[in-house]
């Protein structure tokens, strides 16, 4: 019983280590202090969307779906 318990303990301790392999790390530095890797730029949703990222992304996704003409008349 004790053996199983100690094994279980090791397994639980090792779990975070195993799960770190599942992370998807961004390959490029993100937007920080108004800059992308030293180049001063705004984020896409700041100028016209009052910083509302969701509204901007919804607008973009709507436009993207309009490219699918099967949504208008499915053959």
């Amino acid at each position: 019983m004790n053996k199983i318990r100690s094994r279980l303990r090791y397994l639980i301790l090792a779990l975070p280590l195993l799960l770190t392999g599942c992370l998807e790390v961004d390959q490029f530095p993100g937007w920080l202090h108004g800059e992308y890797a030293g180049k001063e730029d705004q984020r896409h949703f700041q100028a016209r969307f009052h910083g509302d990222r969701l509204a901007w992304s919804a607008a973009i996704q709507n436009r993207a779906m309009q490219q699918n003409e099967y949504n208008r008349a499915n053959p």
């Binding site: 890797a37 607008a59 779906m65 099967y70």
Partner: protein, 227 residues
Amino acid sequence: MAARMKFICDTERCIDCNGCVTACKNEHELAWGINRRRVVTINDGIPGERSVSVACMHCTDAPCLAVCPTNCIYHTEDGIVLHSKDQCIGCGYCYYACPFGAPQFPETGMFNHRGKMDKCTFCAGGPEPDTSEAEFKKYGRNRIAEGKLPACAEQCGTKALLGGEANQIADIYRQRVETRGYGPELWGWKIAYGRPKGGGEIKAKGDLPRTNQIIGDVQNDPGRFPQ
């Protein structure tokens, strides 16, 4: 996860009209000699010729970004590759590194003088205040900040050129291929698109007749209504 903006050109639909090239030049008021986008035709004049519209593909692991000696090229958080013309020295390394020939140089002159690099911005401007006059002069219009997609993709008459969030346009493309019953059958197709299919398997493989080549099929008989 942040969006990844991409282009995809459906070669079965592209009719080599160069509308995308014209729309791009018009939208950004580009200088003479600069084509941020162009249409390449393969096997021109031979049955089975295909055209594909090419510009910056906004690579996830961009080689131009890796080779730029002044580090003027950068990725936005939505996967759009942009560059700073203030930092560009016009060396042309990015042109050699790019597999698509996307970087353009406006001038030709003595001693290999090229001018600042110019390339497709996915209509997302560059490192200037968004939708400002300065940004327009240097990088062209910023449609992304206005909540629009690139002009080339939005105006495409046959909807061959798709632009937008990668997952979304891949879904549109997959639906198309499943509906018409054949695809490019490229290496890597299954990795990119091979999920359980709702619309059926791809029927014609290799050189077999395609559904649109069958006489009497709905597509070839304008009098009939689809079933």
